[in-house]
Symmetry: C2
Subunit: 380 residues, 2 copies
Amino acid sequence: MDAMHLQDLNTPAALVDTARMQRNIARMQQRMGSLGVAFRPHVKTTKCVAIAQAQITAGARGITVSTLKEAEQFFAAGIKDILYAVGMSPPKLKQAAALIAQGCALKIIADSAASAAAIVAYARQHGVPFEVWIEIDTDGHRSGVQPQGDELITIGQLLHQGGPATLGGVMTHAGSSYDLNTPEALQAMAEQERSLCVLAAERLRAAGLRCPVVSVGSTPTALSAQQLQGVTEVRAGVYVFFDLVMANVGVCSLEDVALSVLTTVIGHQSDKGWAIVDAGWMAMSRDRGTQKQTRDYGYGQLCDANGQRIEGYTLTGANQEHGIVSRSGEADQNIAQHFPVGTQLRVLPNHACATGAQFPEYHAVNGQEVGATWPRFYGW
Amino acid sequence: MDAMHLQDLNTPAALVDTARMQRNIARMQQRMGSLGVAFRPHVKTTKCVAIAQAQITAGARGITVSTLKEAEQFFAAGIKDILYAVGMSPPKLKQAAALIAQGCALKIIADSAASAAAIVAYARQHGVPFEVWIEIDTDGHRSGVQPQGDELITIGQLLHQGGPATLGGVMTHAGSSYDLNTPEALQAMAEQERSLCVLAAERLRAAGLRCPVVSVGSTPTALSAQQLQGVTEVRAGVYVFFDLVMANVGVCSLEDVALSVLTTVIGHQSDKGWAIVDAGWMAMSRDRGTQKQTRDYGYGQLCDANGQRIEGYTLTGANQEHGIVSRSGEADQNIAQHFPVGTQLRVLPNHACATGAQFPEYHAVNGQEVGATWPRFYGW
């Protein structure tokens, strides 16, 4: 069979530049190796077995998931060491127990005595050896218990005495690192994430409780940490693709962004300097993560079909299946000549996790050449 | 088999209140009947065969789609009269021709001479009787040709002489109606949409060109038009579910919103008055359509599991699989007592088209009772 080319693809289509992706994977893995920690990628970004396997081949130990469906799908593909990194709620215990019964080394998390007690009760009733990690709040942005608080020890004791459930460790995610954009602030946040999570582990150990795992991470902090003493593993997700938000945070360049949306010009409003393309918000997602950042890329940065950036042109508007391309500053009234109907373009996304989720598959590409089709799943 | 209940569902889940949906369908169909026009619902909102069939049963004539994949799926389900309401680009002509060859009465649209010429050339080369409608720009918000301009007549002549392709009519979508919120402004926009689209049809006819169809519509204008003289059919999509954006526009109440996301409480940050739920932006979508409107509902309005609104509580923040519920005004420091871990809640969405798209299926519900599972598709 002849090689496929971009012209053979139906648009909009999600493209993965495999050279960039492999470079991103290698960069992170190398960094984790030199910091002396294990790496557990968060596969919620891609929900794609082929990509998770590339991460494991590069040295990742286990994966992180955001839904039990991800756990089921990746376990079915042969990956056993899985952290479900969203607080466990009682109605989901049965589904988690079924995975463990099949041989999945699933870890679940809790950040309240109520939740831990429900896990222990289920574990006892059904004889399930749940391994539970305690979620620590190290930056106030979402969930987790305070590393200095009493509830940490209460939960630790519940789990320690909760056989067949066990206390496996502590974990945290400094998601507020996404709001930063200087190396100094990122390094400080990485140190805050590390030190407070290690403090939680040390407090549990001082209370006589086992706490083997200390798991931290987000893409910005993983790429900014200067040392990770006391940490056993790091988690990060979006680094595998990167995106415009991460470029604004300062942890990648636009030339590292491995995910793009291939689109076709379908019309113009020349007076306004608009080209209309067939990638609207259904393709790009409604994520406008760069809106509050130093540089706002609208719904995405325009590139030509080869992936070369077209400076100053972005997707400035989006309806469900229509995107509006325009130039910053003066309107490009020759836009119909620059990008005639039928022209293929690529758009770099604000947020790779959100944009990828709009597509049933990725097309692995190398320049104009299209390689494998990698299915991705969705839903719960 | 016993009836399913909400407690049996895995969360997050997309619920459709069937009584509300049927009421919304009946209201629109009745209105179109009394205005003397045919109604062609836009099925991009639901991408669900069962719901399109309910619309047709109620009297809809044909459907509108936003992708050729929708056309293929609904044609396979037995619906033949389909308008593909996104400007046709040359690479998609082959896919459209295949549908027509199978007996689909597919209509396609063009809004430039370049696009019309490409359609005519393909039609001649391959003997395909494409029926083409010309898209008219009646409000400057997106695509379409000017109703008073020369290009309209140029395109009309190209198509009129373009056998086997034919000119089927004109169509427009006053999408800027979404930005309005008074009956007067909405009525004026509906009249602008009507009168400019009818003007385009009359200009084509005056030039000796056939123009049988005059198709207009958006949910706000369809529900606001006082008369539709000269119009043959109306299109609208989101009315079938409605949502918070439409409530702010003023064309429905919150008690009309038929789509909600069922979610479960997974934790708290009591000091901040937060409950953490398992519906994040992956479930709600990143659509924040109410952000610029008179009332901002964050990522959605909170309801109890029965669908009763809980006034003042919204989803104020969202990560991928975490939502943050909080009260407007003073923090609810008893939120853990109000909504304990494991509590089921519902969230009304900003934008039903975007939220629905995050789910592989809808659950038809009547109060706490769960009926049919309706699959929906995605992708291109």
